[in-house]
């Protein structure tokens, strides 16, 4: 795997390419164009960027108004502020009113690392999953990011994307088919399935490589879409492999893991299962990478979790 660029860089360059040929594309920012890598966008297309200052509620409301006139609106702000302070605007002005704004949560998850919990978004999947009429995407790499932005252009409903600020590994072949709501199988195996989203997918891939050296083969799914959810991919994993481990840069409550657990329970499928994410505690101080490692979102941590699950299965 080669190291690519930060996903939010790819988001910004892809959007700039598209916007140069489509004047209906607008970016709305809350003093966030620098973090969102949108300075070149603002310089090249000053008529297609709307700045509202540090005011996330207003950012989303203004975006809803713009979208109601047929503009393709991308509301860009750090995920931590956007999905808490402006949650009511997302729920009412965007989702409930069906103003198809593309809500872009930048520097998501624990991207801001040591800046602390004020700047972490470990709640956004949970909060938004419960809101009707907004789809949720967490691209894993540069390919998925670009494809997601392209797909967003013609998506009929409101969307939420979350992007991180650190360079990510390229995981996909260029001819991979990307479809909103459809998991991508990155690796095939019989023993364990890793179902991961966003920037944890690369960690799951590294764990799979590590485990394969010990003769444990792993399926790795990039679950880039949290909603609509690819239930079938989860059911197949339960039927075709011996254990499932979900991995997310999110609270272990209310995110990818619990979405998978819900599907399995309601289908009566019982497999050794573990949700790996950020536990319900005061998050440890560190960089994104250090926080991942601390909570077992690492090649070694995930490999250990896999071995433990398989042992449980063998002993039962």
């Amino acid at each position: 795997m080669e190291l690519g660029k930060p996903n939010q860089d790819i988001f910004a360059t892809t959007l700039l390419d598209l916007a140069q040929n489509d004047p209906t594309i607008l970016v709305v920012t809350s003093d966030s164009r620098g973090s969102g890598k949108l300075v070149p966008f603002g310089q090249m297309l000053p008529n297609q960027i709307v700045e509202v200052g540090i005011a996330e509620q207003n950012l989303v409301g203004v975006s809803a108004g713009l979208a109601s006139t047929g503009k393709k609106v991308f509301a860009v702000s750090p995920a931590c502020f956007l999905t808490t302070r402006a949650l009511e605007q997302i729920k009412n002005d965007v989702a409930y009113s069906n103003n198809p704004v593309r809500i872009i949560g930048i520097s998501a998850g624990v991207s801001y690392g040591a800046l602390g919990s004020t700047h972490h978004s470990l709640h956004d999947f949970a909060a938004l999953r419960t809101i009707n009429n907004i789809d949720i995407l967490a691209p894993a790499d540069n390919f998925e990011t670009r494809q997601a932005v392209l797909a967003a252009m013609h998506h009929p409903r409101p969307l939420y994307f979350r992007f991180g600020k650190r360079p990510v590994y390229d995981l996909h072949a260029p001819d991979t088919i990307f479809q909103i709501g459809k998991a991508i199988r990155l690796r095939e195996g019989r023993d364990v399935t890793f179902i991961a989203s966003g920037e944890t997918v690369a960690r799951a891939m590294l764990a799979a490589l590590h485990l394969e050296e010990a003769g444990i083969t792993c399926r790795v799914l990039s679950m880039h879409t949290l909603k609509p959810f690819d239930s079938e991919a989860v059911i197949q994993a339960a039927r075709e492999t011996h254990a499932i481990i979900t991995v997310e840069e999110h609270s272990v409550f209310g995110g990818l893991g619990e979405a998978c657990a819900s599907i399995l329970m309601q289908r009566g499928l019982v497999v050794p299962f573990k949700i790996v994410g950020i536990p319900d505690e005061d998050t440890v101080t560190g960089s994104q990478s250090e926080i991942f490692d601390h909570y077992g979102i690492s090649a070694e941590g995930l490999a250990t979790t896999a071995r433990t699950l398989l042992q449980v299965e063998q002993s039962s």
Binding site: A55, G61, V62, G65, L66, T69, E88, N92, D93, S97
Partner: protein, 301 residues
């Protein structure tokens, strides 16, 4: 309760005579306001819920907007050049539903389903109802949406205006002031913000709950061109809307001084009528007062 809702639609009113006619004289609009108030009370009584006094305070504003100011009708509602009206004080939806029925967006009989099981007439504005621009109901949202819509007009070189009605109690929501900063920054003289200044909110006087005054100074400081109007005076409302834009490159703000519960003596300026449903006796008395007002207006004509 002894009421037969549909019977009340049968009251003679200006509605039947003037529906669809945008050029109306003042007396006709005044008659309409009486008829609207009757309908508001009827549908609230019928449904057993509603925001009575706030709907009555903004009735005249909506009347003048939809019958004199806005270029909005059922046939042009998809036209990108139509004016927009976004009701930020969504709880006064009974007034909005009533005026839209009169404008022919749907039948008045449809309003009998207000708040009923599976009705599209929800207790706050919803786009499921023809003629409603935005879903509102949570306070402090309408102004930002209106600002975004007005920015779009500027970007597209369109001449439509965006009107939004805010409650005075609603102004404690900080998002309204965020939106005000943006309105001034983008010099949105195509935006018309109307404050329904009835001085009451659910707990009591606005000045006792969370002081708003000096309200004009606040709005001026935020960059608006501010005007005052008697928000229950039809000729004054017509006049103030005709003066828009007040100052080039400044967003327009109208402080409409209104009476909560306007038109019904025992509801006027009384905090308890915020969302109280009239008893049978109160309802009969209220209708009686409105019929008397109608008779007086017709006699004056």
């Amino acid at each position: 309760m002894g009421l037969h809702f549909i019977d009340y639609w049968g009251y003679p009113s200006a509605l039947d005579v003037t529906q669809g006619d945008r050029e109306m004289d003042v007396q006709t609009l005044q008659l309409k306001s009486v008829a609207y108030r009757k309908t508001i009370l009827e549908i609230i009584k019928q449904s057993g819920a509603g925001h009575t006094a706030g709907s009555l305070s903004c009735t005249d504003i909506l009347n003048v907007l939809y019958n004199h100011v806005l270029n909005v009708d059922p046939d042009n509602f998809a036209d990108p050049n139509r004016d927009r009206y976004i009701q930020s004080k969504g709880h006064s939806v009974e007034a909005l539903y009533t005026v839209l029925a009169d404008r022919g967006f749907y039948s008045r009989e449809a309003l009998a389903t207000l708040n009923k099981y599976k009705s599209k007439f929800i207790g706050h504005p919803t786009r499921k109802v023809h003629g409603i621009e935005q879903n509102t109901g949570a306070l402090g949202h309408g102004l930002s949406i209106a600002v975004g819509t007005a920015i779009a007009a500027k970007k597209d070189g369109r001449s439509y205006r965006v009107y939004t009605l805010l409650g005075d109690g609603e102004l404690a929501e900080g998002s309204s002031w965020e939106a005000s900063m943006t309105a001034a920054h983008y010099q949105l003289d195509n935006l018309v913000v109307i404050i329904d200044r009835n001085t009451l909110q659910i707990t009591g006087r606005t000045e006792e709950v969370s002081s708003l005054e000096p309200l004009e100074d606040k709005f001026r400081a935020f960059g608006y061109a501010v005007r005052h109007v008697d928000g229950n005076d039809i000729p004054a409302l017509i006049q103030i809307f005709e003066q828009v834009p007040f100052v080039p490159h400044k967003p327009n703000l109208i402080i409409a001084h209104t009476v909560k519960g306007k038109g019904i003596s025992f509801m006027e300026d009384t905090v308890k009528w915020h969302h109280r449903v009239p008893t049978d006796e109160e309802f009969a008395k209220a209708i009686e007062e409105l019929e008397l007002a109608e008779v007086k207006l017709k006699a004056a004509v």
